[in-house]
């Protein structure tokens, strides 16, 4: 593979490129699903190809091909250069890259059990057993389970001399029970909605989730939600479960700190950001107990945003985003870092596949653990709603105003969980919400959640991101608007 990469770089240089990087990738994926006791999807795929990104005449060009011959990659590289020269016809200024060292390295994400080596019969048997446990519950009208495994090899070579091979193994798994009754659809998922939990792990992730133990619990809850009281409409205290808080971080911190958004490069599609450059190192983003990092290092955990190098060859880093409540960091690339006076990229350029351009993406954007024991937090709360497992999520294109609803809510009175609530929702303005945080649970309750479906870019790219979170409490939050009858 290195020969092909070098061949592409040589061709690009010969055609006039001042910089080039080449990513060859081999992606393998297995998808298993069941529905109502039957196998649904049963599929395996592989894709291999090469993408060439170049700077010529001060502008970018990118081309990709699945023709993995010397002639094929040379033609692809030549095409990338000619596209770059066309870009220069309408460039605003020459692209300048922040300096970076070259690296020659090979890295593999750690895992204990290769999911592609686990017999399919074993995987399907577990899903069908969990499906069966849920179908035993009266009132459940639809049961679904899924597993997804990916193995991604990437070879990055750049004209500054880097040659980096990385292999990542990713696993995901989840179950869901839906109940239709009396003109109402209710659903419960475990351990999270939208396919469950996903991480840079092997099959040990599936083992750790104990699907069979949780299947009857969520099935019971799905059926019981119909008779539960409606979540009230009011201002009050909210405690967010870790899986919901992970998505809250993703939408209201992770996206607005993307420097390409801030600089207007995503204005047409993904949107811009309220975190304009004048807010850098000034804005009181959150209360003093809130500390957020973007950490792609393995030390942070085996998340969907964990790697050794990003897709333009910058080593994984930990960047402080919010320190003691104050906004202090963006996600940047080699192109954007120097535009705001940073000496170096924060290493967040990532690509979905060989046929896509690397763009700034979240790594693991995590809320660091606080000091509270979960039991103590509940006992300390006189009147609140605990909201668990996302059901819908929406935020404006500058990431100010959001609304989330969750699958289930629990009313807390006098320090105790007293009853189930259906259709919980909350909404607010990002900075007001984060400044209202007055308690975060400690590391014992902290999970590095995986969001496997983050869409961004044109052409659209789907990327996995990680979000560490423990349950946290927020005061004076607007509750119940989504289901308002007004």
């Amino acid at each position: 593979m290195w020969d092909l990469c070098t061949n592409a770089l040589d061709t690009a240089k010969l055609r006039g490129a001042s910089y080039g990087d080449v990513r060859a990738m081999h992606l393998r994926q297995r998808d298993l699903t069941t529905k109502n006791g039957q196998v649904g999807t049963l599929a395996q795929s592989e894709s291999i190809g090469i993408g060439v990104r170049v700077l010529a005449n001060g502008a970018w060009g990118f081309a990709s091909t699945d023709r993995l011959t010397r002639e094929g990659v040379a033609a692809c590289a030549a095409q990338a250069v000619s596209i770059a020269k066309a870009s220069a016809l309408a460039k605003r200024s020459n692209v300048v890259l922040a300096p970076e060292k070259s690296y020659v390295d090979s890295w593999q994400s750690p895992f204990r059990k290769d999911p592609f080596e686990i017999p399919l019969e074993t995987q399907l048997a577990l899903l069908l057993a969990a499906d069966g446990e849920m179908r035993k519950v009266k009132g459940v009208t639809l049961t679904e389970t899924s597993m997804q495994f990916r193995k991604i090899d990437s070879w990055l070579a750049s004209s500054i001399g880097s040659q980096i091979h990385q292999r990542k193994v990713i696993s995901g798994c989840g179950i869901g029970a839906t109940s239709f009754q009396g003109g109402e659809i209710q659903k419960r998922s475990y351990p999270n909605s939208f396919g469950g939990q996903h991480a840079l792990e092997g099959y040990e992730l599936v083992d750790s989730l104990e699907l069979l133990k949780h299947a009857p619990v969520i099935a019971d809850e799905a059926a019981a939600l119909h008779a539960a009281a409606q979540c009230p409409e009011k201002f009050g205290t909210v405690i967010l479960a870790g899986n919901q808080l992970g998505l809250q971080i993703h939408e209201s911190i992770g996206h607005p700190i993307e420097l390409d958004r801030v600089l207007g490069q995503e204005a047409n599609f993904a949107g811009t950001s309220f975190l304009t450059l004048d807010q850098f190192n000034k804005l009181k983003y959150a209360s003093r107990i809130v500390n957020v990092v973007a950490d792609a290092r393995l030390d942070h955990g085996r998340g969907l945003g964990t790697f050794a190098y990003d897709d333009e060859g910058v080593p994984a880093q930990c960047t402080a985003i919010i320190k003691d409540g104050k906004f202090c960091g963006y996600l940047s690339s080699r192109e954007t870092a120097h535009l705001i006076g940073l000496e170096r990229s924060s290493g967040t350029m990532r690509t979905e596949s060989w046929n896509r351009l690397p763009i700034i993406r979240m790594t693991n954007v995590s809320l660091l653990p606080g000091t509270w024991d979960y039991g103590d937090l509940i006992a300390d709360t006189s009147d609140a709603i605990l909201m668990d497992t996302n059901r819908s999520w929406s935020i404006d294109d500058r990431r100010y105003q959001f609304q989330f609803s969750t699958e289930i809510g629990w009313e807390i009175r006098g320090g105790k969980i007293v009853r189930m609530l259906k259709n919980p929702s909350y909404s607010g303005i990002t900075t007001e919400f984060w400044n209202s945080c007055d308690a975060i649970c400690k590391f014992d309750h902290w999970t590095l959640w995986g969001t496997p479906n983050c869409g961004k870019g044109q052409p659209m790219q789907t990327m996995g991101t990680g979000h560490g979170a423990a349950p946290a409490r927020f005061r004076n939050v607007r509750i119940g608007t989504a289901f308002s009858k007004q």
């Binding site: 049963l42 795929s45 190809g49 990709s64 699945d66 399919l120 239709f180 294109d397 259709n423 909404s427």
Partner: protein, 457 residues
């Protein structure tokens, strides 16, 4: 347009596609697969992206995938590869067989369909396929120059490409389809406001980048000074992109499998007066403004289906499996097997009226003109309550004219209720947004549209 051949990728000929399929069928037979289905998809797409009045990304991709489904004894599975050598195809066949052998048999699995007849559709435009990066750069340059003259910033895309798909199986079915596509989308930013315009067509000659840029520019300028409006219920004029992105969220509700699974908003509502009598919705891949293959994931020919007749949900779409379960005929809307979702109408056409956005505004005493909606998500799947934000130009209408811009609002609105309160519709056009795939829909004037909160801009 169409000059240098710097980017043109020649797609394989129909004969070559058939050759790939025949190779797979031959190898699969040798491997002992009783039944085999093969999909071949090829794409050559280019996209020029601009922001801050200059091109900042410019990409091209060319690739082909071969997807193989084998079926044996009530078991079926799929394996996909983009390697076309015989060893790789053989490995994919073996992977499919191995996957299939691992599952319990499903007695409901149908044998693959035999040879079918298809209605021809022509959606391959040579001028679109021949568009070069220089052509796109020149059009982008004009939009950026306009923005600079107006002291605005332009951002957007100009994309073009060609794709083809073929499906064949061991019972003699073979179908092939090719099309071209092009899109121009532009956001004009005039601090603190922005507005947007977009068009999509198989024929790039039907896309007018400069006009779209001028439209977005005018609206951005109009939106610079905003006032805050209290949330509540308003009469709204929804431009076609806003209608598309909302109504598009209903497409899967018309799947027979969704109704059988009791996750459709049409559960227990078929045949009832659910929407206003002025609402007619069909699925029609042959409509002149539609795109897409005239066959489904199993190679069954797509039928034109009347889904909603004068506000009454009348029909669903069916794959072969869901049709058998419901004792109906398949409509040619199935997804490639195996899957758990069944089918969906992918070519919705919502019939329009004879009004216009201008007439809707002129007939409104007090209301809002909505350019575009954003981040739409389902809040309540049965009442079909959707939430989302307005974006890129929300204008106050008073006494029949636009009097200013207002800050963006969040809505929580039932689509069922909304389609019961449509007062006026324009003729339907091929609309394009960012939340749903392209469909043919009108602009709409709707009363009592529910906005729940306001944002900061």
């Amino acid at each position: 347009m169409g000059g240098k051949k710097t980017e043109r990728a020649e797609l394989r000929s129909p004969r070559e596609l058939r050759g790939i399929i025949e190779t797979v069928l031959r190898l699969a037979k040798s491997a002992g697969a009783p039944e085999t289905e093969v999909h071949v998809d090829e794409v050559a797409d280019a996209l020029t992206r601009f922001a801050n009045n200059g091109i900042h990304q410019n990409v091209f991709e060319h690739g082909v995938t071969v997807s193989i489904r084998t079926a044996t004894g009530g078991r079926t599975a799929r394996a996909t590869t983009n390697r076309l050598d015989e060893d790789s195809l053989r490995a994919a066949i073996e992977a499919s067989l191995s996957l299939a052998h691992s599952e319990p048999p499903d007695p409901r699995l149908l044998p693959m369909p035999g040879k079918q007849r298809y209605r021809a559709v022509r959606r391959f435009i040579r001028g679109t396929a021949a568009l070069t990066p220089e052509d796109r750069a020149r059009a982008v340059r004009l939009a950026c120059d306009l923005a600079a003259r107006k002291r605005q910033m332009a951002a957007g895309i100009f994309s073009s490409g060609q794709s083809q798909t073929a499906v064949g199986n061991s019972r003699g079915l073979f179908a092939t389809y090719c099309e071209t596509h092009s899109q121009f989308s532009v956001t004009m930013q005039e601090d603190p406001a922005a507005s947007w315009a977009k068009a999509d067509s198989a024929d790039v000659r039907e896309i007018y980048p400069q006009k779209l840029a001028e439209r977005a520019s005018r609206k951005a300028h109009l939106a610079v000074k905003t006032q805050e409006l209290a949330p509540g219920r308003y009469t709204v004029t929804l431009e076609p992109a806003a209608v598309l992105d909302l109504v598009g969220f209903m497409f899967y509700d018309f799947a027979a499998t969704a109704v059988q699974d009791k996750r459709s908003c049409l559960n227990n509502r078929m045949g009832k007066q659910l929407f206003g009598k002025n609402i007619n919705i069909g699925d029609d891949v042959y409509h002149p403004l539609q795109k897409g293959a005239p066959f489904d994931g199993e190679g069954m020919p797509r039928q034109k289906v009347l889904l909603v007749d004068r506000g009454v949900p009348k029909n669903l779409v069916y794959s072969r499996a869901s049709a058998k379960m419901a004792r109906r005929k398949p409509t040619g809307h199935g997804f490639a097997l195996p899957n758990e979702y069944g089918e969906a109408p992918m070519n919705l056409v919502l019939s329009g009226g004879d009004s216009s956005v201008e007439k809707m505004v002129a007939s409104t005493n007090r209301g809002l003109l909505v350019t575009r909606l954003w981040y739409i998500r389902e809040v309540d799947p049965y009442e079909k309550v959707m939430t989302g934000m307005t974006r890129d130009g929300l204008f106050l209408v008073e006494n029949g004219r636009v009097t200013g811009a207002v800050r963006n609002l969040r809505f929580n609105q039932s689509l069922i209720e909304m389609l019961g309160k449509v007062e006026l519709m324009s003729p339907s056009i091929r609309a394009t947004g960012e939340e749903s795939f392209e469909m043919v829909v009108p602009a709409m004037k709707v009363r009592d549209f529910h906005f729940s909160e306001v944002t900061k801009f």
